[in-house]
């Protein structure tokens, strides 16, 4: 069974056709439990996310701030395995029909087996992978497997990326390109700086983006106002830590946490339409 790269592309194109940015939500699998996590990811979509990323919790999340580190810790202590992450993708996609990506550090994929991971993710209805610590130079083995299984390869670009690298990275990527709004780790921020807009403009100037590869912005966005601001210049707005915070704030009361996730997704969905 082929993965859902095309579904991802058509959903992002659909948002564009409506004259708005897409809303992309992130939550790690297994948080607060595997079944609770599946409900939370589903709630993000029901609340208004167009696309979701399911995080593969890692023992050493070097690109994540304290909020996602805490969620990863809870998930790993609960015993989440890669097969549970795949199940989360499968059930969230089956329940909603939305494109579901996996966001993961590279070592778990490498350990699980690159071909096996791509095959299992595609079979679960996954749309692709975001690989924040796999630079384009080391990515060939993954891209081959992804292409064969109809999965997107979403690379991250950063404000420090020079123009020549932006061209190289966007040429190798598919689905969309993830523009990190700032130099730093994940986490909510007071404001999204000018850096993000500069990066999006430079990324849009690459041949691949001119041919239609969407540019979505993540890191630091946590509320409807910020989402509206980013939606002015990006094809998609990515929100992660703010969703995790909803569940952490209601620790021990999953229903309240899910309500918070749904409400936040609704607010953000209004933001990207503002």
């Amino acid at each position: 069974m082929a993965g859902n790269l095309e579904l991802l592309s058509s959903v992002l194109a659909g948002a564009k056709a409506e004259g708005r940015a897409a809303l992309v939500g992130y939550l790690p699998a297994g948080f607060p439990t595997v079944d609770g996590g599946i409900r939370a990811v589903t709630a993000m979509i029901e609340g208004g996310c167009d696309v979701v990323e399911v995080g593969l919790p890692h023992s050493d999340p070097v690109l994540d701030g304290p909020v996602i580190q805490t969620a990863d810790d809870i998930a790993l202590r609960g015993g989440v395995k890669i097969v549970d992450v795949i199940r989360t993708v499968r059930e969230a996609h089956a329940a909603t029909g939305a494109p579901v990506l996996c966001m993961t550090y590279w070592n778990p994929v490498d350990a699980y087996g690159v071909e096996r991971f791509a095959a299992d993710l595609a079979a679960a209805g996954g749309a692709g992978c975001i690989l924040p610590d796999l630079p384009v130079e080391e990515s060939e083995v993954w891209r081959k497997a992804a292409e064969q299984h109809g999965l997107a390869t979403v690379f991250v670009v950063a404000p420090s990326s020079k123009d020549a690298r932006l061209a190289k990275i966007t040429a190798a990527g598919s689905g969309f390109v993830y523009a990190a709004s700032l130099m730093g780790v994940t986490g909510t921020r007071e404001s999204v700086g000018r850096e993000a807009q500069d990066l999006v403009e430079r990324t849009r100037a690459t041949p691949a983006a001119r041919r239609g590869l969407p540019v979505c912005v993540g890191l630091g966005v946590s509320n409807a106002e910020q989402a509206a601001e980013v939606a002015q210049f990006a094809d998609g707005v990515i929100v992660g830590s703010a969703f995790v915070k909803q569940l952490l704030a209601h620790e021990g009361d999953l229903e309240a946490g899910l309500a918070g996730v749904r409400e936040l997704a609704g607010d953000l969905a209004k933001g990207v339409r503002a």
Binding site: S59, K81, P108, D133, V156, R165, M183
Partner: protein, 434 residues
């Protein structure tokens, strides 16, 4: 250009231009760090070609560090090693008390050349942190050191030294609260502050070019030791022995001997409570290839690629990864790696202290224990060079508790016989910290 102390591996050797030693190495880093890591690589290439860089580093090595370091024969210690001759390469006599200063001074000069004003570093035992804080004091650089919370407790003396030198020390409370987590936190800092900050990486791991660059700054250890042992013993040694955590002092000793096929290269890994107990940090003995902290190498991990928590009595070796060149040397069969338990290392620490008047670091004591075992294998004609990578002052509290060297509190000691009192009052053995 000729330099006595800065002796990088010649061009055309490993790693490849992509940073690979065979199947190991590479550059697995977030895009946000690519420009900074590339800048380090470019600046290092320029520095290698600049005679002024070598001159400056040579001057520091001689007049600040105190190189060359001595090679000391330890016959009374060697009596316990089947009569083999054992020589210690005395990196413990360097300024700051370990080999770490070799790499730190080199990278501090690079930091200045890159125009950066702030340095961050990870540290396990605190030796790399102390060396980095020292260089930052010397060069007027702002300095932040990340150290696992457990390590700040078991190496409290070094925390005080770093603060005395003007560095900020941040106790890392995430994960296993040891060296691995200190590196994670340092990477997070670097991503956020890369414009003005150099990450002064402390071992031969991490993304390219760090494994090659750190190795080159430590090659002087083996180059000196090789010359010294030939002068003193009239021949090459049968083996060069060093402890391995990330692997910097070992690669420094081994590298000059790589072409000498008769010289066995033996790395001593932290076996903790024994590899069969599961409580160890013997990465090359028990690990599998994976990616940690920016390069592919052997890693202690589960089948899902989650890094497993290491354990060693030695904070400096308590790391679930290893430099990629060691993985390459292991698979190529050029170097051998053995696990040495906490207890074997502690006994060797005490033996060297009592027979030779040299108190080694617990890290280096793993190499000493390995040498004792190897000496018995080689017999009377054996000739061994051991890298004594650091001195043991920082470990006195751990060692005193381990061997019961503290006086008992007066109240408890009143009725006890002297020996028993010291052995029992504080608990003879300090168990693992987690």
């Amino acid at each position: 250009m000729s330099s006595d102390f800065f002796i990088p591996d010649p061009e055309g050797h490993l790693p490849s231009t992509e940073g690979y030693f065979g199947a190991f190495g590479g550059k697995f880093i977030p895009e946000a760090l690519v420009a900074a890591v590339d800048e380090v690589a470019e600046e290092y290439e320029k520095a290698k070609a600049d005679p002024e860089f070598a001159r400056e580093l040579d001057d520091l090595m001689v007049n600040y560090t105190g190189r060359p370091s001595a090679l000391t024969e330890v016959p009374r210690f060697a009596e316990h090693a089947g009569g083999a001759r054992i020589f210690l390469k005395r990196e413990d006599l360097n300024h700051t008390g370990s080999h770490k200063i070799n790499n730190v001074l080199g990278q501090a000069l690079l930091t200045k050349r890159m125009g950066k004003t702030r340095v961050i570093a990870e540290t396990g035992a605190g030796q790399h942190g102390v060396a980095t804080a020292t260089a930052c004091a010397l060069f007027g650089l702002e300095c932040t050191i990340y150290m696992g919370e457990i390590d700040t407790q078991r190496q409290a003396l070094n925390v005080a030294r770093m603060r005395m030198l003007g560095a900020e020390v941040i106790a890392v409370k995430s994960g296993s609260r040891t060296l691995k987590d200190a590196i994670n936190e340092a990477f997070r800092d670097w991503v956020a502050n890369v414009d003005r900050t150099h990450y002064l990486f402390g071992t031969v791991a991490g993304p390219h070019p760090f494994p090659a660059l750190v190795r080159d700054f430590h090659r002087v250890i083996g180059v000196e030791a090789r010359r010294q042992i030939i002068e003193r013993a009239g021949r090459l040694p049968d083996a060069a022995v060093a402890c391995v955590g990330g692997g910097s002092n070992a690669i420094g000793l081994f590298h000059a001997f790589l072409p000498d096929e008769s010289v066995r290269l033996i790395g001593c890994e932290p076996g903790g409570h024994g590899v069969e107990s599961g409580e160890h940090a013997a990465t090359l003995t028990e690990g599998t290839p994976g990616i940690l902290h920016g390069s592919r190498s052997y890693v202690l991990q589960d089948e899902d690629g989650q890094i497993t928590e290491p354990y060693s009595i030695s904070a400096g070796l308590d790391y679930p990864g290893i430099g990629p060149e060691h993985s390459y040397l292991k698979d190529a069969g050029r170097a051998e790696y053995r696990a040495v338990t906490d207890d074997a290392a502690m006994q060797a620490l005490r033996l060297l202290s009592e027979t030779e008047g040299i108190i080694p670091a617990i890290e280096s004591a793993h190499a000493l224990a390995g040498a004792l075992e190897l000496g018995r294998e080689l017999g009377k004609d054996g000739l061994i060079v051991v890298n004594l990578s650091g001195r043991g002052d920082k470990d006195m509290d751990t060692a005193a508790r381990y061997f019961g060297l503290y006086d008992a509190p007066a109240d408890d000691a009143v009725e006890a016989d002297d020996t028993d009192a010291t052995d029992t009052a504080l608990g003879a053995h300090q168990e693992g910290t987690k």
